[in-house]
């Protein structure tokens, strides 16, 4: 029976899934990111030519890696007349056994992740490099996602890759002593990508799904590659549980729907079950960290069949725990929302008023909501206006505008 024809979408799928692996292996071989990227892109270009007639090979990743490696060696040979070191590299690589290519892969991606998220690189560069090298996003896609001109993003990537090369940022998993701190940076980068996707800080859409999907893919990778660090697992659980509510979070015309008003029938049960299973695993191991606790808070929300059934006491306890291990004004703000449900609006408002979060639109939005609930409509209206002035996301602004309408004098 003939195989179904291989279409562009099939190759695109393989590209998304395997690009990071292939680049990671090639970086290990050649010690040069640009060379690795060029070779992997060559290999995918060859796949686009070949696969429609030959079909997708049994191991697409293996085919891409082998092809990319051969292309890179060809390129090195061509350049070797100019450079003795390249000639030597080409000779050594051509004679190196390659049977274990795919077995070594997971480690390679982890190494590349630590290189991309090295603390010597600026956070914006860490994010861009991670999406480019591990996610296989194009420079144009990353630029669009972060609303900067493509030339700016291209420059950022060139500069970051230049620093990795010139400053000698190593391509290696840090030692046990450094690992926890370095993994924090990797997880922070993944979470930043997720959050940027979940609440795009500007633009027409509330959610940029491609960034969320990429963050979850990277989070899954981190959780799989470093299972002993439960924060990686906690972050994956957190992202899955937040993502599970995506369909319920926006109306058909793109408007924002708060948790309490969401149609819980639209929640993705499969993602909730996976996220909750990971939270239970974390609880059993009992080494709590900020991501694990935030995941647990989201798991409590996921348990409630309707908003009134939410176990706010448990949520408040979890926030109390979070305030002990990772106190911050933003955590305190979120805790205040739980306080409003458990102890009443006035005590919550008292907490919120103490926080120095004037630049954060959610502080104004939450304050506005609490003021409305204690019938201080004039103050609430001012707070809604302050919140609107501090977000560029169209859906968030429309939501806040509706809030403002409810407190205006009639």
């Amino acid at each position: 029976m003939p195989e179904p024809p291989v279409g562009e979408a099939d190759i695109e799928r393989v590209f998304r899934a395997e690009y990071g692996r292939a680049v990671a292996v090639l970086v290990r071989h050649f010690g040069d990111i640009d060379m690795a990227e060029d070779a992997v892109q060559d290999a995918f270009a060859a796949a686009v030519q070949r696969w429609p007639s030959t079909g997708i090979p049994p191991s697409p990743a293996g085919w891409i890696i082998t092809t990319a490696r051969n292309r890179a060696i060809d390129r090195l040979r061509r350049e070797s007349s100019r450079d003795e070191r390249h000639a030597q590299a080409a000779f050594l690589l051509a004679n190196e056994p390659s049977s274990d290519e795919e077995d070594a892969v997971p480690d390679d991606r982890l190494r590349l992740m630590f290189t991309c998220c090295h603390p010597a690189l600026a956070p914006a560069a860490q994010v861009a490099l991670t999406l480019r090298l591990l996610g296989g996003l194009t420079t144009a896609e990353i630029a669009r996602a972060f609303l900067v001109p493509e030339s700016t993003m291209a420059q950022r990537l060139v500069r970051a890759k230049g620093k990795i090369r010139d400053a000698g940022i190593p391509y290696r998993v840090p030692g046990a002593q450094e690992l926890p701190d370095r993994l924090r940076v990797v997880l922070a980068v993944i979470y930043l990508i997720f959050n940027e996707g979940y609440t795009a800080s500007a633009g027409e859409c509330l959610v940029r799904e491609d960034l969320c999907a990429e963050a979850i893919r990277l989070g899954r990778l981190a959780a799989t590659l470093v299972p002993e660090d439960l924060e990686a697992t906690g972050l994956l659980a957190l992202m899955l549980l937040v993502e599970s509510r995506r369909a319920a979070r926006a109306t058909t015309d793109g408007g924002l729907v708060l948790l309490a008003q969401q149609d819980r029938g639209l929640w993705n049960r499969r993602l909730i079950e996976e996220g909750q299973a990971l939270v239970r695993l974390c609880l059993r191991r009992n080494q709590p960290g900020p991501y694990q606790i935030q995941a647990a808070i989201n798991a409590v929300h996921s348990d409630a069949g309707h908003a009134a059934a939410t176990d706010w006491r448990q949520i408040l306890q979890l926030y109390d725990q979070l305030m002990v291990i990772a106190p911050s004004p933003v955590v305190s703000l979120n805790r205040a929302v739980a306080v409003a449900e458990v102890d009443g609006v006035e005590p919550a408002l008292a907490i919120v008023e103490e926080l120095a979060l004037d630049r954060y639109y959610l502080w104004h939005a939450i304050r506005a909501d609490l003021l409305r609930r204690v019938s201080r409509y004039q103050d609430a209206a001012l707070a809604y206006r302050d919140a609107i002035a501090r977000t560029d996301n169209a859906a968030e602004r429309a939501f806040l505008q509706r809030g403002l309408e409810t407190v205006r004098p009639h």
Partner: protein
Amino acid sequence: MKLYLLSVYQPDGAPPAPEVLEPIIRRVHALRDELKAAGAWVFSGGLHEASTATVVRVKDGDVITTDGPYIEGKEHIGGFTVIKAPDLDAALEWARKSAKAITLPIEVRPFMDQH
């Protein structure tokens, strides 16, 4: 092995009191010995304060000499160490030790490869 420059950024003005400075100098010497024992030390030295600097530059074909430093600011390079290290992580580990010893910020910069 790559070469890295570890520069110490020092605030201008009077140096710290002797009882502050003396333990710093002791720690810096100990670190230099550690670098040498590890085979990582290439060169190091402390500099007189930035007000002692002189700037020489070419302008329209003439060489002009002026009182320095070249860059105005509240902090200047107070000293530096050149080290050999396999990669940036190793260089940063020495920088961490230096920063702890000197209690001032350390800037790490890679040298260009020598051809």
